[in-house]
């Protein structure tokens, strides 16, 4: 059959009785094609060396415009397939390594440090706002605000990152706006419910609402990769609070500071809205067209999205609980200085955690490319995990020591040996958060949620144990998560690119 077709095709070149013009078709290719097979092999040497079979060479020859006619007339083969087969056997396999792809996990230390600052800086606002945060139920309202804002922003971040993971930045930007609006509404509702369950001063409620909206706006900006805008957002509250504290809380600056505190959530909402609209192509497009597209796209947030966001919401809730419960439990009475010096460096160390996570991922990727046997990989990946954890814990300990030294020299706290277990507990919690982050990054979301919830439950149920209970819970959490991670991340398949 092939032979018949080929013979027939040959005849097409010069149809019987064709006039002069149609004979043009019969003119052989007058181009850069080499005249003998050795030269042709030379020209296609890269294709031949990397070919997995002769058909791959056939497709390359045809793509270059070499057809059956040329195979016959120039090289004396019955067709392109036969020519390619000969080339496949003539040129030995010597496949080129693929072009190194851009490292998707490249993250600069500067960016990580910036993230650390973004997590840590808001801490300075709490002491500055202490004038606002008084009256009955203030602490309760604050804890509720922290829990709800962590939970909601983690859920929103999931919706965004899930779309970014599908390489759909436009959808990610589009889901941010309704998500942020719904989150803001939910925060308002939560604060209102808090007010209904007991007397709370209005400024406390306003502060809690501001905290919630700031967290949501910040999440949007982080998902959309606009960390620099986030620094602008933070500027009024952080600079205002810092100046207020540095000047010794002068009475005449109180209202100005509170104004600065209020500016930050407003800025967060405004800039996040602007950024999300720009990234989703809202501007510069006719509204009708947008509405039509929206209709075609179906619902923006599906039930599967919400189910997927649940573990993130839960995790946000539990982590916020683990962070604030010890502080909250120490009250009423004087503020718990130990919790303060320990939790601030923890927030700052999240930048280190992020950087270490990327380091771990790049390290294991390199390992995967250099290893041929599954057990060897498992062993080395575990070693890398322990190294990463050690790396993070060292950095967090250094940050804590620095923070403590600064606070002691500034006479903010008085050193006392009883602080040690609490600092250790927060360090263990930091380590556990790091491992949980790592597990989540590698697709394991349920186990960290359950273990963290168990640790929180332990702290709450055995709150009489105080610091020791916290230390036990956090250490146990760290050990469990690390053991689980050593098991899971030792599997090569978990490191699928």
């Amino acid at each position: 059959m092939i032979a018949r077709t080929l013979a027939a095709r040959e005849r097409t070149r010069v149809p019987p009785g064709a006039n002069e013009d149609q004979r043009l078709r019969a003119v052989p290719a007058e181009d850069d094609k080499p005249r003998d097979l050795a030269e042709l092999c030379e020209q296609f040497v890269l294709v031949c060396e990397s070919a997995v079979d002769p058909l791959e060479i056939s497709s390359a020859l045809e793509f270059d415009g070499l057809n059956d006619q040329a195979a016959r007339e120039l090289y004396g083969f019955s067709d392109v397939f036969a020519l390619a087969e000969e080339m496949y056997w003539r040129v030995p396999r010597q496949p080129a390594e693929p072009e190194p792809v851009a490292d998707p996990w490249r993250i600069s230390k500067l960016r990580s440090a910036m993230h650390g600052l973004i997590y840590g800086l808001p801490a300075v606002c709490f002491p500055a706002a202490s004038g606002l945060l008084n009256g009955p139920g203030a602490l309760r309202a604050l804890v509720v605000a922290l829990l709800s804002s962590w939970a909601l922003s983690q859920g929103l971040a999931y919706l965004g990152y899930a779309r970014l993971g599908r390489s759909d930045p436009v959808q990610a930007a589009r889901v941010m706006l309704p998500g942020m609006t719904a989150g803001t509404g939910a925060t308002a509702l939560v604060m209102a419910l808090t007010a209904l369950t007991g007397h709370v001063h209005l400024p406390v409620l306003a502060f809690g609402f501001g905290l919630g909206t700031y967290m949501l706006g910040a999440t949007v900006l982080m998902v959309l990769g606009a960390e620099r805008l986030l620094l602008i957002v933070l500027a009024p509250a952080v600079l205002g609070s810092a100046a207020f504290l540095a000047l010794g809380r002068p009475h005449y600056l109180e209202y100005a500071t509170w104004g600065a505190l209020a500016a930050t959530p407003a800025l967060a909402l405004g800039l996040a809205t602007w950024r999300a609209r720009r990234k989703s192509g809202f501007f510069g497009r006719r509204r009708g067209a947008t509405a039509k597209k929206r209709e075609a796209a179906g619902p923006l947030i599906t039930a599967a999205d919400l189910r997927g966001a649940l573990p993130s919401v839960g995790f946000g809730l539990v982590v916020a609980g683990l962070l604030v419960f010890p502080v909250a439990a120490a009250l009423p009475g004087r503020p718990d200085t130990g919790a303060l010096i320990a939790s601030l460096p923890l927030a700052l160390s999240m930048g280190v955690a992020e950087w270490t996570l990327v380091w771990f991922r790049r390290r294991t990727q390199r390992l995967l490319r250099a290893t041929r046997e599954v057990p060897v990989f498992a062993h080395r990946a575990r070693l890398t995990l322990f190294t990463a954890l050690l790396h993070y814990l060292t950095a967090a300990a250094l940050l804590t020591a620095t923070a403590a030294a600064v606070m002691i020299t500034a006479h903010l706290i008085h050193p006392h040996w009883t602080l040690a277990p609490q600092i250790a507990a927060y360090l263990a919690l930091g380590g556990a958060m790091f491992v949980a982050l790592l597990l989540q990054a590698f697709g394991s979301r349920i186990f960290p949620l359950i273990t963290c919830a168990a640790a929180l439950a332990f702290e709450v149920l055995w709150r009489r144990l105080g610091v020791l209970g916290q230390l036990a819970a956090c250490t146990e959490l760290l050990v469990t998560l690390t053991a689980y991670a050593a098991h899971v991340l030792g599997k090569a398949v978990r490191h699928a690119p």
Binding site: M1, I2, T5, A7, A8, R11, T12, P15, P16, D21, Q22, L24, R25, V27, A29, E30, D31, D32, V47, S50, V52, D53, L55, E56, S58, S59, A60, E62, F63, D64, G65, N67, D68, Q69, F81, P92, R93, Q94, P95, E97, P98, E99, A162, R166, S167, D168, A296, A304, Q365, L368, R369, T371, R372, E373, V374, K491, A492, V493, A496, P497
Partner: protein, 496 residues
């Protein structure tokens, strides 16, 4: 009668030639109901075609969604270790038994996917271990640099997992399964055949496997991954051809590959693309200046550079000549347009070459030139040619894919990447008014006879009833050859 139509990366989620064809076919075959099975990338795609009334359902099969398709893993359905090993062996095996082994294993994978979680099995640590061990058991390749690593094993299993996702979906229930491309779109069709005995038709506009080879030349994967993945695609395409009751390529040129991969000649029937003559009425006048018109995507595969170079040669003899290029570059690949514009400037013909962008009414683009040119290095059966022909314009086109079949003797066909010959052909037609008009009229006659949408629709109407009437198992079916009317079209038919 209900047809399950399988697409991959095209209708109804993106534009392009294949989607136009699907839309035309479904709208034309009003007597049939269609349920679409669209293989898509992530599942977040938006539908871009308004669906005809006879489309009764659209099922999306995302290949790259995160959530694994199909039922969740249950403890009763353990890992099919033997099956995974057999899959890997059949892909690494280069002997003649490999193809039947692959056929067997694919069917078993389908059976497994219907009750267990195939995606989880292929994505398991055990699967990676099996592949890395299979690689190590075989004699190391002479080229030491390509020693496969665990990264390769993980990547390869990941690719297979995503490629086999369609097996986990419920098989479509219809009287006939029509895959409008070979490759992954054949998987749901095979599933229907295995489960319900549904006959299968495979249509090809471009040769799927050939495109796979070309795409993977620039893949980020190392040789061992590329080898196993292309081995999978080769075996799958060969299976698609052998299981199909009818293969309907878009041109005779594709048959070479189809037959090379084992398609039985008696089951092949060429069905050419068609256009609606009402959309492309005969053009009455010609532009004043001698003009060459070109319509398409500004893309390297269209080799616009050769056309520009050829035009520079035309200008030397006809200083009044003009070249008008209608079309825009695909999104994100505008650099080729810039390259073409730079070339125009280098050749000093900037004023005479115009990049017109997209046109509202495409017939205007053909009206803009005395002749229509096509300089592509690769084509299936280009719409732009048959549209121009329907308008009554003669063409100068490169000898790729189905171009000679479309043009026949109503235009001039030149080798690809050859500006000199292309220029000579253009000059011949631009300078000889009589010849040009004669060929233009002949082109319209040829197109109206052979390349109308009605022709394509009635051809499929015929193939559908033929194939569905002959359910497999009936005596005489396999021996019965399908008439290929395209034979009448080809000049060598007379010489046979």
């Amino acid at each position: 009668m209900k047809i399950a139509m399988m697409t991959e990366g095209t209708y109804p989620y993106s534009f392009g030639g294949v989607s136009v064809w699907c839309d035309q076919l479904i709208r034309g075959l009003t007597g049939y109901d269609f349920s679409l099975v669209a293989i898509v990338a992530t599942g977040a795609e938006r539908m871009v075609w308004p669906l005809p009334g006879n489309v009764v359902a659209v099922d999306r099969v995302p290949l790259w969604s995160t959530a694994p398709a199909g039922p969740t893993v249950s403890r009763r359905n353990g890992l099919p270790v033997g099956l995974l090993r057999e899959l890997i062996d059949s892909l690494l095996d280069s002997s003649a038994e490999a193809q039947p082994r692959f056929t067997g294993v694919l069917r078993e994978l389908f059976e497994f996917a219907q009750r267990g979680n195939l995606s989880a099995a292929l994505g398991s640590d055990k699967a990676v271990r099996l592949l890395s061990e299979a690689w190590m058991e075989r004699p190391p390749p002479a080229h030491w640099r390509t020693a496969p690593t665990l990264h390769d094993a993980v990547s390869a299993m990941q690719l297979l997992d995503h490629a086999l996702r369609p097996l986990s979906c419920p098989p479509p229930q219809a009287d006939l399964a029509h895959a409008v491309t070979n490759g992954l779109a054949v998987l749901p069709a095979l599933a229907a055949k295995w489960r319900y005995g549904t006959p299968v038709i495979v249509t090809e506009h471009g040769v799927y496997l050939r495109e796979q080879y070309l795409q993977n030349r620039k893949s980020p994967y190392r040789w061992p991954v590329k080898a196993i993945y292309l081995s999978f695609m080769r075996r799958l395409c060969a299976l698609g051809y052998s299981e199909a009751g009818a293969i309907t390529p878009g041109n005779v040129y594709n048959r070479r590959w189809e037959e090379r991969l084992g398609a039985k000649p008696g089951r092949i029937r060429t069905v050419y693309n068609g256009v609606d003559p009402a959309d492309f009425p005969a053009l009455s006048g010609e532009p004043d200046a001698p003009t060459i018109s070109w319509v398409g995507r500004i893309d390297p595969i269209k080799d616009v550079e050769t056309l520009v170079r050829a035009f520079a040669l035309v200008r030397q003899e006809m200083p009044a000549a003009r070249l008008r290029l209608f079309g825009s570059p695909p999104k994100g690949r505008e650099s080729y347009l810039e390259r073409c514009q730079a070339l125009t400037a280098d050749l000093g013909i900037t004023g005479a070459v115009t990049f017109e962008g997209r046109v509202e009414n495409i017939a205007d683009a053909y009206a803009a030139g005395q002749i229509v040119a096509l300089s592509s290095v690769s084509e299936g059966f280009p719409y732009s040619l048959i549209e121009a022909m329907t308008c009554g314009r003669t063409c100068v086109a490169t000898d790729v894919g189905g171009v000679t079949e479309a043009v026949g003797d109503t235009g001039l066909v030149v080798p690809p990447r050859n500006p000199k010959l292309m220029a000579r052909a253009c000059l011949t037609l631009l300078q000889d008014d009589d010849l040009r008009h004669r060929l233009g009229t002949a082109a319209r006659t040829r197109a109206l006879q052979n390349f109308t949408v009605d022709g394509a629709i009635s051809a499929f109407d015929e193939v559908y009833s033929l194939v569905s009437a002959a359910r497999p198992g009936r005596p005489g079916w396999t021996e019965r050859a399908i008439e290929d009317p395209s034979d009448d079209l080809l000049p060598w038919k007379a010489a046979k």
